[in-house]
């Protein structure tokens, strides 16, 4: 190419999608450019231009206004203005509906390209036509499918099915056999784990650890039945699940063997070792050392390693979803160990109960050392004096978590607060009140309780409450309206202008709050979809997936929203890993300078997806 135009070339080359063009095509594109100078407060297209063109801001600033004069976006150096070539390029419907005005905010030097030329280039280079033909949701989808491909390459477990790992057939032993016979069979066959069968039906599992702990250590005769030491109600995993979920299930429950089922029948066994050999993953190690920790001081030491794990996961290319699940599983392990310690100290609970996680931990979207949100649900048979035990438990666990870096909840949403340490019927009443007589303020404070998960204890307690709750929320349009009103308070920004984040009212802000400007609005939308459709899932992606195709959200919008969520999550995980590596605290404030030009484009696309769904939510009540 002509070195003479190298300046223009390097400028154009830095702008997606033209960065993907090979040199000769780039040279051709540049040779077709026109240069215009437009004074401040004029409108595009410039005088004398009546053909449709793509405009590229070389210097200056433009504002795109909707037909009702609302600022839609602001463009600076290197930004593309596609307002006038939409009719020529196949245009996405959702962006076509408004006819917009483009005006110059400063004296501007703009390059422009005839849309016919652009279309010709697009015909030869699909990356160009894809960029202009796709709407924001589609561009984001392309980006996320690329990201997911990368994740497959760098981390196999997430996308490998359990079926690739499990051993089959599984070694079974009849329930009538003795412990000694089981030990002999294990030795002969080289297994550390047998499935206990009664009439060919699996009723439990026995591992060499059970023989050690429940027989030898307890002084049980080796002639005793294996039924005495086997684990009943064993956890299983379906053969179609992915290996990562298997690993997480074992991490959370602190087990090393997981029977694999096909249509409910045990068909094989997967072990931690099988999975670990395939992944340099240490979430399981983590949970194992947490379980072995003897004292609070030891737990504290382990917790110092959590940020390192988050960095490691981010480096492995794990998606935000998987990082969140890993960290949440580890927090769960910490909590469980603390509860065990408390039970050692204060004795067994007087009545059945469950320790609940609220907010991000319940949604399995936690990142290292976020604040703790928890509660206790107690069986209705509790007597008033029983609360003393639960208070001790709450203080012990919450203080312990705080020592391990999970700071106290600033809103006092913790089991130490007597309000959030209540029997089932009281919890039911709380939820009934929130749903029956909703007030925006009360909902703002309590919305965290609509994301609730059992960490430890009797899961049935919460399930009964949740079932009733979902039955009610599905019917209560007033409640959903109030919840929506709160949720729509957080709006994504319009995009970027130079190195600033552009807010709705046109004002600039130096950094982007990824959490409040992007992630939280999606979490809120997902919660509304779940509650209005009676979806019991708590995890944001699962909620959106399960609500997809209902009257709350269409299938395609659901997919778009998940793409946006995953993209924002990915940026957040990357940003936090960077902060942690520099020895700073992991925050959610992203400077636009940290973003590549392409990431900015994708972020804008993600904001548009959120805004569209917020708008349609707003229109629906």
């Amino acid at each position: 190419m002509d070195t003479e135009l190298s300046e223009i070339a390097s400028f154009i080359q830095g702008i997606p999608p033209f960065d993907s063009l090979p040199q000769p095509a780039l040279a051709h594109l540049i040779s077709e450019l026109s240069i215009n100078y437009v004074r401040k407060d004029e409108t595009l297209p410039p005088n004398g231009v009546d053909e449709p063109r793509l405009y590229i801001v070389r210097k200056g600033a433009l504002s795109c206004l909707s037909s009702d004069e609302e600022l839609v976006s602001r463009l600076g150096e290197g930004d593309l203005c596609t307002e006038f070539c939409k009719k020529v390029l196949q245009s996405p419907q959702d962006e076509q509906r408004v006819s917009r005005q483009v005006k110059t905010d400063e004296d501007s030097l703009v390059y422009s390209l005839n849309c016919d030329v652009l279309r010709d280039i697009g015909n030869k280079y699909p990356s160009i036509s894809d960029y202009f033909n796709h709407n924001s949701a589609e561009r984001l989808k392309l980006k996320m499918s690329k990201v997911n491909e990368d994740a497959i390459i760098s981390s196999t477990l997430m996308n490998t099915s359990v079926s690739n790992f499990y051993h089959s057939p599984v070694a079974g032993i009849d329930a009538s056999k003795s412990i000694q016979q089981a030990a002999q069979q294990m030795t002969e066959q080289g297994y550390s784990c047998l499935v206990v069968l009664d009439n060919q039906k699996s009723i439990g599992i026995i591992t060499d650890k059970d023989i050690r702990r429940r027989c030898v250590a307890e002084g049980l005769p080796i002639s005793a039945s294996i039924c005495e030491i086997m684990t009943r109600n064993m956890s299983t995993i379906d053969i179609k699940s992915n290996a990562y979920d298997a690993l997480m299930a074992m991490t959370a429950k602190h087990i090393h063997h997981l029977p694999v089922t096909k249509k409910g029948e045990v068909v094989g066994m997967v072990t931690v070792t099988d999975l670990m050999n395939n992944e340099g993953h240490n979430a399981v190690n983590f949970s194992s050392i947490i379980h072995k920790a003897k004292s609070l001081a030891e737990l504290k030491e382990i917790s110092d390693l959590l940020p390192k794990l988050q960095i490691r996961l981010a480096k492995l290319g794990a998606s935000a979803d998987h990082v969140g699940k890993s960290i949440s599983a580890i927090t769960m392990a910490f909590t469980k160990r603390l509860i065990e310690m408390a039970e050692e100290k204060y004795g067994q609970a007087p009545v059945p109960y469950a320790w609940l996680a609220a907010g991000s931990q319940a949604r399995q979207e936690q990142l290292a050392h976020s604040d703790q949100d928890n509660a206790i649900i107690i069986c209705d048979s509790m007597k008033p004096y029983d609360d003393a035990w639960f208070e001790n438990l709450a203080n012990f666990v919450c203080d312990g978590l705080a020592d391990c870096g999970f700071i106290y909840c600033p809103g006092d949403i913790m089991a130490t607060n007597p309000k959030w340490r209540q029997p089932v019927k009281k919890w039911q009443k709380y939820f009934d009140d929130w749903v029956d007589t909703p007030s925006p303020k009360a909902l703002l404070n309590s919305s965290v309780f609509f994301d609730l998960e059992t960490i430890c204890g009797d899961a049935k307690l919460l399930e009964s409450v949740r079932k009733n709750l979902l039955k009610k929320t599905k019917k209560s349009s007033l409640f959903i309206a109030h919840l929506s009103k709160n949720a729509l308070g957080l709006r994504p920004p319009l995009g970027f202008f130079r190195d600033f984040v552009l807010k709705q009212n046109g004002k600039h802000k130096a950094t982007l709050d990824l959490k409040h400007n992007g992630i939280a609005p999606i979490v809120d939308l997902a919660r509304i979809y779940a509650l209005s459709e009676g979806v019991s899932a708590v995890n944001t992606i699962e909620r959106i997936q399960q609500a997809a195709g209902t009257r709350a959200i269409t299938k395609s919008s659901a997919e778009n929203l998940i793409d946006a969520y995953e993209f924002l999550g990915m940026l957040r995980v990357k940003h936090q890993a960077k902060k942690l590596m520099q020895g700073h605290e992991a925050d959610n404030y992203l400077s636009p300078k940290e973003l590549s030009k392409l990431e900015r484009e994708h972020l804008k696309d993600a904001f548009k997806v959120i805004k569209t769904l917020q708008d349609s939510r707003q229109a629906s009540f």
């Binding site: 540049i30 077709e32 026109s34 240069i35 215009n36 004296d107 030097l109």
Partner: protein, 233 residues
């Protein structure tokens, strides 16, 4: 204005063009002269312009040599990059080191250049019927005149817009002292917040000059009413 059009028909560039056309030998120069120039009352919006820049070995058109030529056309107040032209000229003169530093044209590149005759032919063809736009007209005018004398025996006459002179007229009107360095292409571009450019390449400078003219006319009062007569050198 009848008086000025009368004046124009007697001594203006159109009159000169017609006179020279009769004398010119057949060939590129005659072809150039046979196309009428735009009249003085042509509105700027309709004015065909060719922004031009020469790189030379020095300031003396008789002793120094033309090294390269770059130009780009402007129509409807738009710079059309598809009209870009840049050519290094093959001359016999040895390049001095100081010049190589400025123009970054080396002897080897020069050897691969085209003969002066072909480049001037190309230029005359592009310039026909247009107004020449330059920054500091003396170099381009003298070197083009000299080249035509050498090649065709006569020198043409053509209308010129000089962005330096436009800027100078404005500064003179303010009647305050100014530093001559304010009139440099790069200083003037800075003044209008145009992006910084890589100078001393003939084509880049031609584009930079064209952009500067766009900024200058857009900052004049009553931009719509500007005619060639308001800008001509």
């Amino acid at each position: 204005m009848p008086i000025s059009s009368l004046f124009n028909s007697l001594v203006g560039y159109e009159a000169k063009r017609k006179r020279l056309l009769k004398k010119a030998p057949d060939g590129p120069l005659k072809d150039f002269l046979s196309v009428p120039f735009p009249s003085l009352d042509t509105p700027i919006q309709q004015l065909p312009i060719l922004a031009l820049d020469f790189e030379t070995t020095g300031l003396d058109a008789k002793a120094d040599k033309l090294l390269s030529v770059g130009f780009v056309a402007m129509e409807d107040e738009q710079i059309k990059l598809n009209s870009c032209y840049h050519q290094i000229i093959k001359t016999k003169a040895q390049l001095e080191e100081s010049n190589v530093i400025i123009h970054q044209i080396t002897d080897t590149q020069k050897e691969q250049g085209q003969p002066l005759r072909l480049v001037i032919e190309k230029l005359l063809k592009a310039l026909a019927g247009k107004v020449m736009l330059v920054h500091f007209a003396r170099i381009e005018r003298q070197f083009l005149t000299q080249a035509c004398l050498e090649l065709y025996g006569i020198a043409p006459e053509f209308p010129i817009i000089d962005t330096l002179v436009i800027a100078k007229r404005q500064l003179d009107k303010r009647d305050v002292a100014y530093d001559p360095s304010e009139l440099r292409l790069s200083s003037l571009r800075d003044k209008y917040a145009l992006p910084s450019h890589h100078g001393h390449n003939a084509l880049n400078d031609a584009i930079a000059t064209a952009e500067l003219l766009l900024a200058q006319i857009n900052h004049k009062p009553k931009t719509d009413k500007i005619q060639l007569r308001d800008l001509i050198l």
